[in-house]
């Protein structure tokens, strides 16, 4: 068997995770002047502007990027916007551990429910536990227009609403799948298979839809955007994530949901094995995150009352793990692929602070709950007290 020749590194997973966290912390402190959080539990939180309703925007920095291409010294050139513009304004967690299944749909579903979901990553299935959107809408009696997901692929069409019997039907988020809309808008035209492939893990396969996603004929009604305008603008964009951000901005402007979840996916081109395209994806995602923050700051409904979270759903395989092929996949379950980071910024969040204690991917939903005022009663994670 192959085990004999290709042994992984000797460091234990816990040691490796700690090393990752320390590297990120040291680098951030050197590069941005951020201070260690435990020394600064105090009065530097950005005030929440009242009486506007508090809002939250969650961006998954997807689909997974490693330290050496982002926060390690040699990777900083790929994330200039995060480094120079966003991190100085944020509270940064250096060690966010994902203990679940490392497939993009199931991992994003786990982030959205606060429970490590075990659904088939490639099937069109809803999460089994209530999502943040359901808690939010049920507890706070919010309409469906107040919780939205913008996601890259058909595989994410069920992410807005769980199958849980106490929540589920009618209580979830509306879902926008920009690539799906573009497919519909361009049907009958040229073959856009290459552009519109569903994801990079299974590039030749797209699950059938069946959730509460928005259809093309609702584009004008909801986003005040004609199909022709949509198609024309799509022709000016270079990637599906750019399309997602364009749609998200339209949504913010026209609907202004209080809970908005944007899933990025361009980075996952790494599955095709071309390192340069993976790096291009990181650089584009870095730029798009900054654009979303600018939109938050410039939209009257969002400016001053919005907290933005950015986190990868997980990392990618280490070069040192012989069971994988480095950056290309996230199949080994090694420490590098499980340990990521999170930044929070905006309303109620301290600026320029770094925490290296381990937090869990499933802590996001309870934290959102504490911020927005709902109870994530079935989530496994715990609220991150440094953000509250």
């Amino acid at each position: 068997m192959a085990y004999g020749n290709f042994l992984p590194a000797k460091m234990t997973p816990r040691e490796a995770a700690w090393q990752l966290a320390c590297n990120r912390r040291d680098f951030l402190r050197a590069a941005t002047g951020a201070v260690l959080g435990s020394a600064l539990m105090g009065p530097f939180a950005r005030a929440v502007t009242l009486p506007k309703r508090r809002k939250a925007v969650v961006i998954t920095f997807g689909g997974g990027a490693r330290d050496q291409e982002t926060f390690a010294a040699e990777g900083q050139e790929n994330i200039p916007h995060l480094m120079r513009e966003l991190i100085p304004q944020s509270t940064f967690f250096t060690q966010v551990v994902n203990r679940g299944i490392l497939g993009h749909y199931v991992a994003t579903a786990s982030l959205a429910t606060g429970v490590y979901e075990t659904i088939n990553n490639f099937a069109s299935l809803p999460p089994e536990h209530p999502t943040a959107f359901e808690y939010f809408r049920k507890d706070l009696k919010r309409p469906s227009s107040d919780a939205w997901v913008v996601a890259p692929s058909n595989g994410f069409n069920r992410i807005g609403e769980s199958s849980h019997r106490s929540y589920g039907s009618g209580l979830g988020a509306r879902v926008l799948l920009p690539k799906h809309l573009l497919t519909a808008a361009t049907s009958g035209g040229r073959d856009y298979q290459h552009l519109l492939r569903d994801n990079y893990e299974t590039p030749f396969y797209a699950p059938e839809l069946g959730g509460s996603e928005v259809e093309l004929n609702q584009l004008e009604e909801i986003l005040k955007l004609s199909v022709d305008e949509f198609k024309a603008h799509a022709r000016t964009l270079s990637s599906p994530d750019e399309l997602s951000v364009y749609i998200a901005r339209q949504l913010m402007r026209q609907v202004a949901p209080s809970l908005l979840w944007i899933t990025m996916h361009d980075i996952d081109i790494a599955h095709a094995g071309a390192y340069s395209l993976y790096i291009d994806g990181i650089r584009r995602t870095d730029r798009l995150c900054a654009e979303i923050w600018k939109a938050i700051e410039s939209e009257p409904e969002y400016a001053g009352n919005t907290t933005m979270f950015i986190l990868p759903d997980f990392g990618r395989d280490s070069d040192d793990d012989s069971g994988g092929n480095g950056f290309q996949h996230h199949r080994t379950g090694d420490t590098l692929s499980r340990t990521t980071w999170m930044m929070a910024m905006g309303a109620g969040v301290r600026e320029g602070v770094v925490f290296d204690r381990a937090v869990d991917s499933t802590d996001l939903v309870p934290t959102l709950g504490s911020m927005l005022g709902f109870s994530a009663s079935l989530a496994q994670g715990k609220p991150i007290h440094e953000l509250l």
């Binding site: 042994l7 099937a123 290459h194 799509a234 081109i269 071309a274």
Partner: protein, 400 residues
């Protein structure tokens, strides 16, 4: 079906040599946990079509299983024995479809949060096996060569950044006839130390003229097979009920003849088919193909010599171009391919260093048709730069 139920007649569908090997070791296999046995059978079932190094590894492992006592076996496989399986896995035909079992086991381990425990058990077992039956060192130190940057005049970023700390950087290499010198040097090694599948030349484009003593794989020569594979995949995807896992199972069953590789070296043809059906992106990007082919050659054939030449891959068109009217023409992306290949060369070196005899191995990466190269080996000072003027044959002579 459990391992304790194994009988020789259950292996009647195995190819002849695999059947002979496995039936000689049935008592040793009966004591293994089901969580690990199909992984071993997955290697054994392809025994007839494996490279010599792989056959030796299987023989070594089976001989060791036969040699250890049942008490020792219990200790060696204690971690695997603790893995809890379900009846669906037990009911699979894991004797005749061990790869399918392993694929489903992998998904099951993720779902049941047992993957980490399985990894610990696997690492522990590998360490014991290596200690009890150490792999054989190569007859001569290995040599790896990567040729990168075809078609690029000036790189946008410094080259070999990940490798520089490990070797000597040269910036005045005489590039004339560089590829020919390298291929000649590789052929000389192959002639002096003949070994089946011991000396390889992989090209991400069309293979350059070379000595037939080398085992050769090229992306260009596999174009008909790649086209046939993509057509086959599209046909399968269009079938009702098809999903990614079912598609993978179908691809795993493809044989060389299914993709037009029905004649010639069966072992090499099967290897090439696997590069295309198991490698992600190998059907589309030549740089991915070259890197993955290098990785798999090192992992499976454990060659004494490996030369991988990267070629420009097709350009990934941005969305706006795909939406425009004329998007059918394939264009190339030499600069992006150089970045891919630079990383690919680093991975080739990492994978070479995972093989026995790593401390004596050497590695050369050259920016094709240019004066930059980097040499790693026991005789090359690490983290240094040299402004010496030399051709690639001279650099190789300093390395080996």
């Amino acid at each position: 079906m459990l391992p304790s139920d194994l009988k020789p007649e259950l292996f009647k569908n195995y190819p002849p040599e695999a059947r002979e090997v496995v039936t000689r070791h049935i008592p040793a296999l009966q004591g293994l946990p089901l969580s690990i046995l199909p992984s071993l059978l997955r290697e054994v079932i392809d025994y007839d079509f494996k490279f010599p190094a792989e056959r030796k590894a299987v023989d070594r492992e089976l001989a060791n299983l036969k040699a250890i006592s049942s008490d020792e076996s219990a200790v060696w496989f204690a971690g695997f024995a603790k893995i809890k399986l379900n009846s669906a896995l037990e009911d699979l035909d894991w004797i005749n479809s061990p790869a399918l079992f392993v694929e489903q086991l992998s998904a099951y381990l993720w779902t049941t949060h047992q993957l980490d425990a399985f990894r610990v058990a696997a690492v522990d077992y590998a360490a014991r096996l290596e200690k009890a039956a150490p792999p054989v060192k190569p007859v001569i130190p290995r040599l790896g060569i990567a040729v990168i940057g075809q078609g690029v005049a000036t790189p946008e970023e410094p080259l070999f950044r990940k490798l520089r700390a490990h070797g000597a950087y040269f910036n005045r290499i005489k590039p004339e006839n560089g590829l020919r010198l390298l291929l000649s040097a590789v052929a000389v090694r192959a002639t002096a130390h003949p070994e089946p599948y011991g000396h390889w030349y992989i090209d991400g484009g069309k293979a350059a003229e070379h000595d037939p003593v080398l085992t050769t794989v090229s992306y260009g020569d596999l174009e008909p097979a790649r086209t046939a594979l993509l057509r086959k995949m599209r046909e399968e995807i269009d079938r009702p009920g098809m999903g990614p896992e079912a598609l993978r199972t179908i691809l795993a069953k493809l044989r060389p003849a299914d993709l037009g590789l029905g004649t010639g070296d069966e072992v090499l043809n099967r290897f090439q088919i696997r590069l295309l059906t198991e490698g992600s992106g190998t059907q589309i990007f030549s740089t991915t193909f070259a890197q993955w082919a290098g990785r798999e050659t090192l992992r499976r054939a454990q060659p004494l010599t490996l030369l991988v030449r990267f070629a420009p891959r097709q350009r990934q068109k941005p969305m706006n171009e795909l939406l425009s009217a004329n998007n059918d023409q394939i264009e190339f992306d030499p600069m992006g391919s150089l970045v891919d290949a630079d990383m690919g060369a680093y991975y080739n070196w990492l994978n070479q260093q995972r093989l026995p005899g790593a401390e004596q191995s050497s590695f050369l990466v050259w920016f094709e048709d240019h004066g930059e190269a980097l040499a790693i080996g026991p005789s090359m000072p690490r983290g240094t730069e040299s402004a010496s003027t030399a051709d690639l044959a001279q650099v190789l002579s300093w390395m080996t």
